[in-house]
Symmetry: C2
Subunit: 105 residues, 2 copies
DNA sequence: CATAATACTATGCGGTGTATAGTATTATGC
DNA sequence: GCATAATACTATACACCGCATAGTATTATG
């Protein structure tokens, strides 16, 4: 699939995947993977970006000697999702524009 | 609107806007603008990219002393549109994933 | 006669997906 | 018992693309 199409979707995907739970990176990858292709090198930067934007709050905890970072969606994160849904209406219109003009194709 | 969401859509928008006609840059901007925000600094690089990818064929012609480049969608361009439509089905699924997990939001 | 519209070109920035590589622990299979 | 896989993170570096900015040059308009 064209990479560019996924841009802007992934951030919200991660927020949606975390939902109301307390999730950590590796778990999120496993959760999302069946639905959307995502690797560590994609996810971890996203998590850091979302944290910097205050869309996620983070709590570090040790689990079996390994450090785990648990993420939780903040109110700002929920607003982000809401905005995304509004944007999506516009995206749909753009798609309609394309679909209408390429019926024969 | 989030810029990232538009990525990957614009290329196909341009192909769709040209359709079966013989269009030039400035005209395309005027055609698309009511539906999708697009400026010269966005469109012209897109046209060059699509040309390099053989999705567009180009013919230069003088019009009132000004040089005009007329673009036409090639078979490869039409394939590109077809692929996009297939990709869109996947994108819709990703959106569903998000929508389902954020009903309360 | 100035301003707007037309129609291109070129440069550079910033955001982001991802490849690659590194570190370190625990669980599993032969 | 030891290699391999799974777990769980970090850091660096590249390529793509939307867009801002700026420049050039002609034609149409008030």
């Amino acid at each position: 699939m064209d990479i560019q199409l996924k841009r802007g979707l992934l951030d919200v995907c991660v927020l949606a995947a975390i939902g109301d739970s307390d999730a950590y990176g590796y778990q999120i990858i496993k959760d999302i993977s069946p639905h959307v292709e995502i690797t560590q090198s994609t996810l971890y930067p996203i998590l850091r970006r979302l944290e910097e934007a205050d869309c996620l709050s983070v709590r570090s905890e040790e689990y079996n000697g390994r450090l785990r970072k648990y993420y939780r969606v903040t109110p700002a994160g929920k607003s982000r999702i809401k905005e995304f849904k509004q944007d999506w209406a516009e995206i749909q219109e753009i798609y309609s524009f394309i679909a209408e003009r390429t019926q024969a194709t």
